[in-house]
Symmetry: C2
């Protein structure tokens, strides 16, 4: 079995902690067995490792999440990168062609699609494993996992089984019902319907045949090229609801969508993450503070306070699902994790004459390097404040340490490698970001060194 984890979403409902570079699945708000704070994607990856499934897992994602996934799961995590975000059908189709043409997967290999951030118990992954046997023995086209409903939710999709024998290992699916009324939901539960949790298993040839049938390429590179023309449609609508022979494996256990502040804080390991206090009569109140400055919450119950370099949210928990609708702020992410470390915007000014100043603190992990590149319309001043490294500008090599000031004029090629953990204060001045172009020359440090020798 090969697993494809779909990592999408911009996570505006968890503003200000989530942003375009850091979707909700990357927020480190859960506590693992060792008392460390981990993100949802790290929790799921750990569960896959425990279940012996991580070795055969890939993450399908967009370009904006690559740095974050590598930072959180390790640089070796196998990624299938969508050229742009379209929806789950194109994403799954691309992943299938990748396995078929790039990884030479067998046509009868079972492919299982999983969301990257279900909050579930470990035994959920035993159900995932069972999908293999179930697909083989049932001869079904598609295998799903259904969660036993705990209340007549009107927010989820329901999988309605054909028989009403809830005790078998799997059941044949009759049909689906999206977001029913509460009355309908009660009736569905009586029919032993299950919540659809977004897991799909199929044999590779099922998907490949489907692509052929639709006149789409089955080679990865070819499909990638015309990815922008694929319809923006979900796998549920395009495939699952049209499939003839679908089975479902029931899972009985916790299954939660931690996509809003009220559901997320229920699973938080602590009431306070970061620098701050909650005082006075405060019940069921949570504080997540990623800023350096302290936060004090006094005499408030059922409240979430979340502070990040992007902004500050203070909300009653009951209305927190509406955050997405109410937040009018559109902005560049202020904190980003990178494959080489992290970058944090300290200050951002735009002056009347149109020029701008961006002040950042960046941290490079020992052994990592920034790409060798140049800015067409910005100059930079870097002050090394911690650690040691190698700096190259226009082919000239120098060792750097705290106190060194690196003045990088417009259109100068430059790169930096950290020998030990290294930090710089970076002041960028010149044209505002939109008018600046970054030209990358080399990404690997070996190439930069060779370039120096040639100069």
């Amino acid at each position: 079995m090969k697993l494809i984890l779909l990592s999408g979403g911009s996570g505006k409902r968890l503003w200000p902690l989530s942003n375009d570079a850091r979707s909700k699945q990357f927020l480190k708000v859960l506590e693992n067995d060792k008392g460390e704070m981990v993100s949802m994607v790290q929790r799921v990856w750990g569960q896959l490792q425990s279940a012996g499934l991580s070795e055969s897992a890939y993450v399908a994602t967009g370009r904006t999440q690559v740095e974050m996934l590598q930072a959180q799961l390790g640089a070796e995590v196998p990624l299938i990168i969508e050229p742009e975000r379209r929806d789950t059908f194109p994403a799954i189709a691309l992943a299938a062609t990748y396995l078929y043409s790039m990884e030479s997967a067998r046509l009868n290999e079972i492919i299982t699609i999983l969301p990257v951030d279900p909050f579930v118990e470990d035994r959920f992954f035993y159900a995932v494993k069972e999908l293999e046997t179930v697909l083989e023995t049932s001869g079904a086209d598609l295998g799903l996992i259904g969660v036993r409903p705990t209340y007549p939710s009107t927010k989820y999709g329901y999988i309605v089984p054909l028989s009403d024998e809830p005790s078998t290992l799997y059941q044949r699916v009759s049909h689906f019902k999206e977001k029913p009324t509460e009355y309908q939901a009660e009736e569905l539960i009586r029919q032993h319907a299950l919540w659809n949790c977004g897991v799909f298993a199929f044999k590779l040839d099922y998907m490949i045949d489907l692509l052929v049938e639709k006149g789409l390429p089955i080679q990865y590179e070819a499909l990638r090229k015309q990815y922008g023309q694929l319809p923006k449609i979900s796998f549920d609508y395009e495939v699952v609801e049209k499939a003839e022979h679908v089975v479902v494996v029931p899972y009985e256990g916790d299954w939660k969508d931690l996509g809003t502040w009220n559901t997320l804080t229920e699973e938080m390991g602590k009431t306070i993450i970061g620098n701050g206090v909650i005082c006075g009569e405060s019940k069921n109140t949570h504080l997540i503070n990623e800023l350096d400055i302290p936060v004090a919450v006094l005499g408030l119950s059922n409240v979430v306070v979340a502070a990040s370099p992007d902004g500050i949210l203070v909300t009653d928990k009951s209305v927190s699902p509406k955050v997405k609708d109410w937040i009018p702020f559109q902005q560049t992410p202020m904190y980003e994790e990178k494959h080489w470390g992290w970058s944090r915007v300290l200050d951002c000014q735009r002056y009347e004459d149109g020029h701008g100043v961006l002040t950042k603190r960046i941290g490079l992990a020992a052994g990592k390097n920034l790409a060798y590149l140049m800015h067409t319309n910005r100059e930079e001043v870097w002050t090394v404040v911690k650690g040691e490294g190698e700096f190259v500008m226009n082919g000239n090599y120098m060792r750097v340490k705290p106190g060194n000031v690196l003045h990088i004029p417009v259109k100068s090629m430059h790169g930096l490698k950290a020998l030990t953990d290294l930090e710089c204060i970076v002041v960028q001045t010149g044209a505002w970001a939109a008018e600046d172009e970054v030209v990358e020359i080399y990404s690997g440090w070996d190439d930069v060194m060779r370039h120096c020798l040639k100069m």
Copy 2:
């Protein structure tokens, strides 16, 4: 009549907007007639100007508030600077000797002491003016202003009049009662007692005689020198309660102590100051945001959210008077107004090896200059990002503009004058602040220019 405004207080109850460099009286949260945001001290100074009293007013304050007072009231505001903070008796004694020996005030001059931040109506200052006539005609030692109570408060001090004829211009004082019980307060109100609002008027010789009697110097410089030995005691206890002949002028009108978030926000001109939104069912909720990042408050009523570079407060209004007790944070002020402009800390890091990095953005107003000085243990990198100016380092003069990078090694003398409004990003590195010493060489720019010519 000469007026002395006492400007004290650290204003911890209005954390995080108030700090040691910016007491509550300096917060610009009130709206004036022209729709501009002004501070309490600016409001009072404007009222003094309208009443024709500002010309004879002095502000008695500590060294830490000098820059702020000059920034808000103008560089010409006459200041009497206490060598250290002690309490109101030493402060008033020092001010009296200043008027006596430095300003050659007449011995029969009426001196009126006022708090710097009463929130009152304009006619309050007519009562202040009347104190002159009242002291002359009554022959009393001390004249006070008493506010007609609006409810039996247990927080204030009461002035109990001798007679029960509330209609006269002034009344002789029988005695005082500090913080009575509610039952006592009701009884006091029946006796036409008034709230003491901290205004004291006396003839200069009354205070001078008192100093002589106590064996204290009556010359300003002499008293200043032994200021540290004066008792930390209030003027109320040391003088008012022992005085034999005291009169009170009643004032009928609004009189408020805007010293806590719930009282302050009642008088705020707007519900939102700064970048942010209040959405959903939110009644009587106020947001004051001094940060660049946005704040969203959703579905919360009777709440104050205050964000500044020092920290973030989220509090139910009813418990906001307790802010002072609950805030455990001790920190260096992150934003300071200076006589030359302002300074804002962007980032502050202390590394394991004991060295530190402080990143600031500073703004100099056109025509102003930083003192010419050197740091014994810190080096600095300044990147000019806005405006034009003159920079001098070790006697060398240069004109600077955006893009210039000024690298200032340890022990280098340096100064900067703004020709137009000027901004710099400053990165200070080296020993942590406590181990660094700043040696000021010249404060005036003329001296710096002469020094350049000599080099």
